[in-house]
Symmetry: C2
């Protein structure tokens, strides 16, 4: 636990600016007086790309390495071709800083709407692999734009990459009361990657006899997300399946406005990055309508990662209390941020 | 519309036998007297594999070609290593018979349980590509079983393969009252395959000005499935995304016991194959507990494919009426089949 935090802030595009401002407000309010918080904002995203054609210049990548952690709002705009910022900025950061744990907790807070009937109990965490699978940019196209085009995408999976995320997931499962870990893959079709994942999972499982294990195909997992979400405790899965499942998880547990995530490098070799799961929502940007709660909860993950466990819990409790006491009146982005800042300080 | 139907039947494993029996019962009941139905059963699946080590011998593949269509129950058993029957039998049939349209309608019938609150309107159809993507078996592993293992899965996509399924989906959308088609992919990450899909979609869209089009990333699509399923009319997507989305679609629209599918080759070069989306459910096999409705609805898709539109509608109406008049009393597989057979005959 550092007595100072040197934080990089990438507000990004759309509602990114607004929600990050609230995240920082709550961070300032929750930190003990003697912890020095330094922040440096990085101007990266759609506007920068339009202005300069740059997504993430080497100098900035280098500078980012010097921080203890990164807080990111959201990246992307309809005016930028699909993939440019995702691959040139967001995924570039995840890969450059070897964020192999993409941590996405799902908890249905009290008094929170879910599209599921009967408000089931939802409290699980998805440990999504962050540096392999179909996300490596490995692929290509031949005779592009002709009727003979062939396009490929290659999912790359290594024993090294799979084992480290599986181990992390077992550690997390072992530390939770229910101690249950579910592997999600599609090993009846993707047999090569599937066998690597399943064999690695089974091998590591032998070291954690206290953890109950389970395997589900990704298609079946989506069924259980909506019919029996209470069956999940910790889920470990590949980069693409994790992407899909965590949006569904967000949807069932209060919506994308509440879903936090951490792109974590547990070795500490590079700064970890924390961001809401939601996108830039250009339709509501600049109107004070965005819910900053997902960003505030991402700040909690950031604090936990840096060793400030008590402060992380304070934020999570504040969010829980704030949601429980909501009365349905619409609140602005700023008002929600203020309410949470007051709670964590109090 | 043939005046005879020469049907291949592959009951398969687990509840496959039971549900196929009901499908045939209803098929017999609905067909006009003057249509001659011939059926030939093929013993394929887990038992056959245990007995002989065979999944789908060439002679049987050849014989299957001679049929007008195939009705399949379900394939698979925990006693068979994952992937063996899926790839050696089910996917082999889909690929050998070039079933490039994997058609999966989702309709929430009246009086039918959905895990979603407020019983939203659900009436959409997923047109899933059936012969490409990550399903081609293209991949491998190196240094298998060691700490240096690398495993790959290659998604193969061709202009030919994408265009034919996209065209089929536009035709289906144009024929429906709402005339809306949504492309689902992940073109911000899988840029090569994504561009091929998106460009093809946009090109074909120009020929269908009457069809409203839309694009969603697969992760976002799962959110809308549970928050706004009524926004969907026809969805076209790749093999893997279609696999995942159609299980979720089944879950929200009455459960996997009601989800029908067709593996269709619209050229007629090979027989098309119809099967419930559910698996073999070994836990309830042989107990008369399986709901045969998904198989019966698959028979409706089969009849529609062969030109028996009126009979297909009769089955769908019978299912709708049967579900509407259910009173919650548990019924056996056989009882449900009987009830539906009576209705379609009546
Ligand atoms: C924006 C996109 C590249 C990203 C992903 O696919 O990982 C997003 O969907 C997410 O889940 O963080
Ligand atoms: C059994 C499996 C190979 C199959 C698939 O992945 O296509 C199934 O999940 C389906 O959706 O029909």
């Amino acid at each position: 636990m550092a007595s100072s935090i040197n934080l990089a802030v990438i507000p990004g595009d759309g509602i990114g600016q607004e929600v990050v401002a609230q995240g920082l407000k709550v961070l300032n309010a929750v930190l003990p007086q003697d912890v020095k918080l330094e922040t440096k904002e990085y101007d990266l995203g759609a506007q920068r790309w339009h202005r300069t054609g740059e997504t993430l210049p080497d100098a900035e990548l280098e500078a980012l390495k010097g921080h203890d952690a990164i807080l990111l709002g959201a990246i992307g705009d309809p005016s930028v071709p699909s993939g440019v910022l995702e691959r040139g900025l967001l995924l570039k950061l995840r890969f450059a800083f070897d964020h192999f744990i993409n941590l996405r907790p799902s908890k249905l807070f009290p008094n929170t709407a879910t599209p599921l009937a009967g408000s089931p109990e939802i409290d699980f965490v998805v440990v999504r692999e962050g540096t392999e699978g179909p996300y490596t940019g490995n692929g290509g196209s031949l005779r592009t734009g002709t009727e003979h085009e062939v396009a490929t995408e290659v999912s790359l999976n290594t024993a090294f990459g799979v084992e480290r995320v599986v181990r992390d997931a077992f550690e997390r499962a072992a530390a939770r009361p229910r101690k249950k870990l579910t592997l999600v893959h599609k090993n009846n079709v993707l047999v090569y990657a599937g066998h690597l994942w399943k064999n690695t999972f089974d091998k590591v499982a032998a070291e954690y006899p206290q953890v109950t294990t389970d395997y589900l195909h990704v298609d079946a997992a989506t069924i259980f997300f909506v019919t029996q979400p209470e069956r999940f405790d910790v889920i470990v899965t590949d980069n693409l399946f994790g992407d899909i499942l965590t949006d569904l998880a967000a949807a069932i547990s209060g919506g994308i406005g509440l879903a936090a995530s951490g792109n974590i490098n547990p070795t500490g070799a590079f700064p970890s990055m924390f961001e809401p799961v939601h996108g830039t929502a250009p339709d509501i940007a600049g109107q004070g309508k965005a819910d900053p709660t997902a960003t505030v909860l991402s700040v909690a993950l950031l604090l936990r990662h840096l060793g400030y466990e008590a402060q992380a819990v304070r934020i999570e409790d504040a969010v829980s209390a704030d949601l429980a006491e909501r009365d349905g009146t619409a609140r602005t982005t700023d008002e929600i941020g203020d309410a949470l800042a007051v709670r964590v300080a109090g």
